[in-house]
């Protein structure tokens, strides 16, 4: 078993899982101030993701930790290279994270409104930055012979990066709307359904644009030929199917298709990268690969054993948590936890 490939896949798995799970968390956060027109409605919205958002965020932390352990040179290059973007991401995650816990802790409208907008801003920024980051990973960034990034913050905000960011925001808002359609009732549900109906076509268009742009801004075509289009097309088809299910009000299927679409889109990024982990636009020889950036075989063996034991266990108890809280949230203030 090639442990370098295995760990590339495991890391991809956690990043993809993060984008889907926190995808709907961020989407719900983005929609919060708009779909919740009074305090109870906003509380309902926050309570839909209340039990889950923290554990969902851990998928990103695990992805980062796994990157550090399995590919320390990638971790070093990526995290120092994307410094200011990551600082903004951290700022966003901090504000959003505490907003849920703090929001209902005083009765003052100004306080509650502030934290709701903090959740919005944090979720929006995070969704945008993650899209920008993945687009740049796929297209490559200036990296020198020592693996150090030589660009600036603005380098990341190139057209392809921004398109990735925009698609991410739109896609996550869509899946957030679908999640709310599954988990709420009454006015909030109707608003969420309406958002999903109106948003799916823009998402499809953005995703299609991203797919086309991918052929110009990444070396997918050169590397994998037309076969490289398969996974991105799967993403597009999934989103189109989601639109069909939204029309038919089969929200569960719409949600599943959108999730699959997000997963396929993020997976495409990793397919484009493989076997590289940091693509250098300065010189292909400077790109880091799953072999040159990796820890030694002994470390990979150790963490593989830990992963094999714990990942199934983690997936099981997370699934149980979703099962436990599968009911719709009722708009009854005394019963709301957050």
């Amino acid at each position: 078993m090639n442990l370098n490939i295995l760990w590339f896949d495991i890391i991809a798995f956690f990043y993809i899982g993060f984008m889907v799970l926190e995808g709907f968390d961020f989407g719900v956060g983005i929609l919060l101030p708009f779909l919740g027109k009074n305090d109870t409605q906003r509380r309902v919205i926050v309570n839909t993701i209340g039990p889950h958002w923290d554990a969902n965020e851990v998928w990103l932390i695990v992805a980062g930790g796994a990157t550090f352990a399995a590919f320390p040179a990638w971790y070093a290059s990526l995290f120092s290279g994307f410094y200011l973007a990551l600082f903004l991401l951290l700022f966003a995650l901090i504000m959003r994270g505490v907003s849920f816990e703090f929001r209902s802790k005083t009765p003052f409208p100004a306080w509650r409104n502030f934290w709701d907008w903090a959740a919005f801003g944090g979720s929006l920024a995070a969704a945008l930055l993650m899209g920008v980051a993945f687009a740049n990973l796929a297209s490559g960034v200036p990296v020198d012979a020592a693996g150090n990034y030589t660009g600036t913050f603005w380098t990341l905000l190139n057209p392809y990066g921004l398109l990735g960011g925009l698609t991410s925001v739109a896609g996550m808002t869509l899946i957030g709307a679908l999640f709310l359609t599954l988990k709420t009732s009454g006015e909030v549900l109707e608003r969420a359904r309406s958002v999903a109906r109106r948003l799916w076509l823009p998402v499809v268009i953005l995703l299609a644009a991203l797919l086309v742009a991918t052929f110009f801004f990444t070396d997918l075509l050169a590397q994998k030929g037309i076969a490289g289009a398969i996974l991105p097309l799967v993403a597009l088809i999934a989103l189109v199917a989601a639109g069909y299910f939204i029309r038919k009000q089969r929200t569960g299927w719409a949600f599943a298709c959108t999730a699959a679409g997000i997963a396929a889109a993020v997976a495409s990024c990793f397919v484009i990268m493989f076997p590289r982990v940091m693509i250098s636009t300065l010189d292909p020889a400077y790109s880091l690969t799953i072999y040159t950036a990796a820890s030694a075989p002994y470390t990979l063996r150790v963490i593989s054993i830990v992963a094999a034991v714990f990942i199934p266990f983690v997936l099981a108890y997370q699934a149980w948590a979703y099962w436990t809280f599968r009911q719709r949230i009722k708009a009854e203030p005394e019963q709301l936890t957050y």
């Binding site: 695990v62 930790g65 150790v302």
Partner: protein, 465 residues
């Protein structure tokens, strides 16, 4: 502006900040778990109310621990890329394991606990919180084993100019890491205990909800006394071990400049402007040797002698930390620890004497005592990380060589100021909320985590329902 120097300040600030919230999480978790388990077993409502009261305070604090913690994981890669490249093969593994085993556990089960009061059977709900206790303790273990490696590298080989893991068992059994762990767990329990003690004292002084807060007070006093003593005992063992594996850090924490046998203990000292020479001090003869060897004799290496040794071993350079920092933080930490033992003893005595009226007025000082473990924790952390200098990995990599080459001073200044500002704001919010809910007491805590005043009048659009 040097990006490495700014990165050092940022790491120090963000770590001290993170470790402000973590010990309370570590300690208070046990109390909440014990209170809820007592409820499940005894069926007495008072324990359910206590669980919810202390649980609410736990959650406010936990949120801060989580968000400040994410910053730590990212910061190694962001600000210390060359360190990460050098040591990632060894250091990355415990961090990754921490995220996979501990973080998932505590965050998933805490979510279940917060929202699952009426949805899970009582025993299962309590069990969920025990998973939070397990998760947070495991988290402490892995990160402290990682830090243990930085202080006292074991189980590695240098291959191709970087450290490579050679023996995972050695990494996991590093005594430096285990001393850290037990010391931190004890400190966490002490922090939780004093937090509980101070808030209980606040209510008892005002004779409010006496039965509930006497129960809390007593539990906190006992745990506070045991954990304060334990943290000192483990700390002492750790100090003895430190002299063996990091003699410079040990010597610096005692400001022992020249090798001595027997060695005197310096109670207080004033250093010159370089921080590397003593101008005046109060010394107790034989005492340092006694602390290290249990007898009034025994050689203790001095800073200047170790410096000469290290120059021979590692080449020319300055291997002396800023002595004033470990020296003073050590004394502050130990001094506070002794005060904590005294306070906890007094609290136990109060309960033992069944709350004599003549001691009632002392309860007024309870809330102030909450600060003791916080100050001690901060001092201890600063002690250990400044004592380690100039190394980022002892004997292998200097801190100044561990930075991120792609950073400019301007970039780090932005993040440093950004973190400082947001953390200051959140600290204010956190303390405000903790004080508000602590003061409100148990009966107004009520069900759920939200403010007891939900309101449909709060129309955020001005357009009505």
């Amino acid at each position: 502006m040097d990006p490495v120097m700014l990165s050092r300040w940022q790491f120090a600030i963000t770590t001290v900040y993170h470790f402000f919230f973590v010990p309370l999480t570590l300690g208070l978790a046990w109390f909440v778990a014990i209170l809820e388990t007592t409820y499940v077993i005894s069926g007495k409502e008072i324990y359910k109310k206590l669980t919810k009261f202390w649980g609410k305070l736990f959650l406010i604090n936990f949120a801060m621990g989580v968000v400040t913690g994410i910053v730590m994981e990212f910061q190694f890669g962001m600000n210390w890329a060359d360190y990460s490249r050098f040591v990632g093969d060894v250091f990355g593994a415990p961090l990754a394991i921490e995220t996979l085993t501990a973080f998932f556990l505590e965050s998933t089960f805490l979510g279940i606990w917060i929202f699952g009061w009426d949805r899970l059977p009582k025993a299962l709900h309590a069990g969920a919180f025990w998973m939070v206790v397990l998760g947070s303790s495991l988290s402490a273990l892995w990160i402290l084993l990682a830090n243990g490696f930085m202080q006292h590298p074991v189980g590695y080989e240098i291959v191709g100019g970087r450290a490579v893991l050679a023996d995972f068992g050695a990494l996991m059994s590093n005594p430096r890491g285990w001393y850290f762990f037990w010391h931190t767990i004890a400190a966490g329990l002490a922090t939780g205990a004093f937090f509980m003690l101070g808030i209980s004292a606040y209510h008892l002084f005002r004779k409010r909800e006496v039965e509930a807060f006497r129960t809390s007070f007593y539990l906190a006093a006992i745990v506070g006394l045991i954990s304060s003593v334990a943290v000192g005992l483990v700390g002492h063992a750790q100090g003895v071990y430190l002299r063996e594996v990091q003699p410079m850090a040990a010597a610096a924490s005692e400001a022992l400049w020249e090798t001595a046998d027997p060695a005197p203990f310096t109670v207080v000292a004033i250093f010159d402007s370089t921080g590397k020479k003593e101008v005046w001090g109060i010394h107790v003869p034989y005492l340092l040797s006694m602390l290290y060897y249990n007898v009034p004799s025994g050689k203790v290496d001095g800073i200047n002698n170790i410096q000469a040794e290290y120059e021979a071993l590692y080449g020319p350079g300055d291997y002396i930390p800023v002595v004033a920092l470990p020296f003073w933080t050590f004394r502050i930490m130990v001094g506070l620890g002794l005060v904590m033992i005294a306070v906890a003893s007094f609290a136990v005595y109060m309960r033992y004497k069944k709350w004599p009226e003549k001691l009632h007025r002392w309860l007024k000082w309870g809330p102030l005592m909450i600060a003791l473990p916080y100050l001690a924790n901060t001092a201890g952390w600063i002690l250990t990380e400044t004592g380690r200098q100039p190394w980022i990995v002892h004997g292998l990599l200097r801190t100044e060589h561990g930075g991120s080459p792609s950073l400019t001073g301007g970039m780090v200044l932005i993040s440093l100021i950004g973190f400082a500002l947001i953390y200051a704001l959140l600290m204010g919010v956190d303390v405000y909320l903790l004080a508000k809910y602590a003061r409100a007491g148990i009966s107004s805590g009520g069900e759920g985590a939200a403010s007891p005043e939900p309101s449909d009048e709060y129309d955020f659009t001005g357009a009505g329902k």
